[in-house]
Amino acid sequence: MRYPMEMIVSDLACARGGVPVLEGVSFTLAAGQALLLRGPNGIGKTTLLRTLAGLQPALAGQVSVPPETMAYAAHADGLKATLTVTENLQFWARIFGQRGIDRALEDFNLTDLAGRAAQNLSAGQKRRLGLARLLVTGRPIWVLDEPTVSLDVASVALFGAAVRRHLDGGGAALIATHIDLGFPAGQLDVTPFRAQPRGLDHFDEAFA
């Protein structure tokens, strides 16, 4: 990797819609490591990932990470229906200043679909294209929100292999998921970090 990188999260609190959902989240993610975020629906995994990706401000705490090292992938794949698989990938590669999308196409078994418009892909194929986007960002820290949704067993294995290669290359991955991805990874259950419900003395804050 270009430089040693590490994501250090300390005492992070984040909110969704003005309501605190998680607080006191702390972990360290070093190069070559993967960390799986666990927790029931609605606990705040997506909110945590969005906060880490810089899409929303943290209520408290710090996220220490080298600039321009995170690649974020959300529930939505950010695909344009009328563009082909190649055009979609090429666009993101150019936005991230990278060249060459062939490896990404191969790794996610999309080579045969390269000329097809994204609107004609199945849900699983779209997801694979969304994940292939990670490979063309050239960024070392992957922040993924339920990446295996709508993937079949074979595609989950493809994804697992891609993550393993990424880790072997000195990358890191933070993945919110409910399933076993088939590679060694640390686990972080965010349930204990659930924010305490606020008392009535904070009632007025909702109107502030």
Binding site: Q56, A76, L79, A81, R133
Partner: protein, 218 residues
Amino acid sequence: MIALLLRDLNLAVRAGGGFGLGLAFFLIVTVLVPFGVGPEGAILSTIAPGILWVGALLACLLSLDRIFALDFEDGSLDLLATAPIPLEGVVAMKAAAHWFTTGLPLTLAAPVLGLLLNLDGAGYGWLVASLALGTPALSMIGTFGAALTVGLKRGGLLLSLLVLPLYVPTLIFGAETVKRGADGMATGTALMMLGAITLAASALLPFAAAAAIRINLR
């Protein structure tokens, strides 16, 4: 950033991209007005500058809500916000793409449609000049409005209400330029005001729009 501009232009001309939307609307307005007003050439040529500018402005308005809404819905906007290009650059490119697909075709089509409204011969050059100078401001202001309303479902109404008052100065000076040009009077002041609005909008609004998007993405 050029990649983003090219992608948006590419998307606009593909099926369902809405490239012809503004142009078709402009055509409809200018074709229908003579039917409504009547065939007297004198009346038509009096109202032509105003009608042409109002038509162009409304045609611009029509496609504004697509600027960010589509990217917001399919998740591209989140990904662009985490990409290495600054959000201000994204906004500027979006406004440029809107101008290329709306303002520029309107400017080029306006002289032909001016014929339908019996615009005075001296006015054609000023019509093209004022639209070329004024429509970038419409795109930029509209992009700012689209950024303000990006998270809202069906935010088109609010967007129109927000943007219309901001469009008024451009409309006044644009129509004034054409009117004065057609009457053979000096157009310098109105044209310069139009240019000033465009320059100020392109200098300031990308920052305001980017700030609005950051808040709306939370």
